[in-house]
């Protein structure tokens, strides 16, 4: 089970469908300030189910959809897909690839899709569980956040370890 690619469309600064193919090892993302690198991180957090807008650098849900530029109108929907390789059959589906998509409309309608069909959050979470994608916020270290783990109080470190145990 590995993450093959991420597709981002309409989310923050990703206006056209953007596909990022991932290495089985290290994939580096570089570029100028403000280009959209951390927006990719936000996109992955979001498709994994993050609901806290502060962690997505947004004040309200509609901040996640492309809000327009000098040359383009705002978009009406944001979509982020994770394409998981399932050739080892560790996920509870028969397909060699499993596509999880989260979509959010400016009307505030929100949907999850599994291999193209609408799915409940419960079903989506069972796939994440089988993929060992737990407490995703542990495996994602946001920009400027690396020191946070040190500065957290001993109680917080204990509860982190409790969740792991």
């Amino acid at each position: 089970m590995f993450l093959e690619s991420i597709e981002i469309f309409g989310f923050k600064t990703f206006v056209t469908n953007t596909r990022i193919l991932l290495s089985p090892g290290i994939t580096c993302i570089v570029g100028p300030n403000g280009a959209g690198k951390s927006n990719i991180v936000d996109a992955v957090r979001w498709v994994l189910g993050e609901q806290r807008y502060t962690l997505l650098r947004a004040t309200e849900s509609t901040d996640l959809i492309f809000s327009g530029s000098g040359l383009r109108k705002p978009m009406s929907v944001a979509s982020v897909k994770l394409i998981l390789n399932n050739e080892a059959h560790t996920l509870p589906l028969k397909t060699p690839r499993v596509i999880i998509e989260r979509r959010f409309y400016r009307t505030k309608e929100s949907h999850y899709y599994l291999n193209g069909e609408e799915a409940s959050l419960q079903k989506i979470n069972s796939v994440f569980h089988a993929a060992n994608v737990f407490g995703y916020t542990n495996s994602i270290v946001g920009q400027g956040k690396i020191e946070e783990i040190l500065l957290s109080r001993p109680e917080e470190k204990k509860s982190l370890i409790d969740r792991i145990a």
């Binding site: 089970m1 590995f2 993450l3 923050k12 600064t13 990703f14 206006v15 056209t16 953007t18 193919l21 290495s23 089985p24 090892g25 290290i26 994939t27 580096c28 993302i29 570089v30 570029g31 100028p32 403000g34 280009a35 959209g36 690198k37 951390s38 990719i40 991180v41 992955v44 327009g68 530029s69 000098g70 040359l71 383009r72 060992n132 994608v133 737990f134 995703y136 542990n138 495996s139 994602i140 270290v141 946001g142 920009q143 400027g144 956040k145 690396i146 020191e147 783990i149 040190l150 500065l151 001993p154 109680e155 917080e156 470190k157 204990k158 982190l160 370890i161 409790d162 792991i164 145990a165």
Partner: protein, 151 residues
């Protein structure tokens, strides 16, 4: 339940010490149980002594030292509870040249068992990528992704 916690704690500590040794040439690291009035475990704190220095509160460490200790602890957690992929956004910002190399070597080792997506401005870290993507904004306000070849 308590046994689960103890086993997990021991595992994290062992890995924390092993990563700490890779980052600092010498010095000691451990995880300390902070008791409450009943003697129960109320919290866990990181104890570090840097090579040649005395044990100090984490707050007194330098920017780069804090990053290295935090990375040692995080990687220890990754080892004990693996995830298929990890995303690190500019975690090397405070590191000097030598420590950026150390970080990159640890990354390469850990990437044998898991995928890493690493965002960086650092030329040394960029070399570690098997795949390299450049994100630019040719058109104002719109991100464009370009696949870059590593030379």
């Amino acid at each position: 339940i308590k046994n689960e916690f103890e086993i997990t704690l021991k595992g994290i500590e062992k890995n924390f010490q092993s990563f700490y040794e890779k980052m600092f040439k010498g010095g000691k690291a451990s995880l300390e149980k902070i008791p409450d009035e009943l003697g129960e475990v109320r919290g866990i704190e990181l104890n570090v002594t840097l090579p040649g220095k005395k044990k100090q509160s984490l707050h007194l460490l330098s920017g780069g030292e804090k990053t290295l200790v935090a990375l040692a602890f995080l990687f220890a957690i990754f080892k004990v509870k693996p995830s298929p992929f990890y995303i690190l956004d500019e975690v090397d910002a405070a590191l000097d040249e030598d420590n950026v190399v150390k970080f990159g070597e640890i990354l390469e080792e850990e990437a044998e068992d898991a995928q890493f997506i690493v965002i960086t401005h650092n030329k040394e870290t960029m070399q570690r990528g098997d795949f390299l993507y450049g994100i630019t904004m040719e058109e104002e306000g719109v991100s464009k992704v370009v696949s870059l070849k590593l030379v």
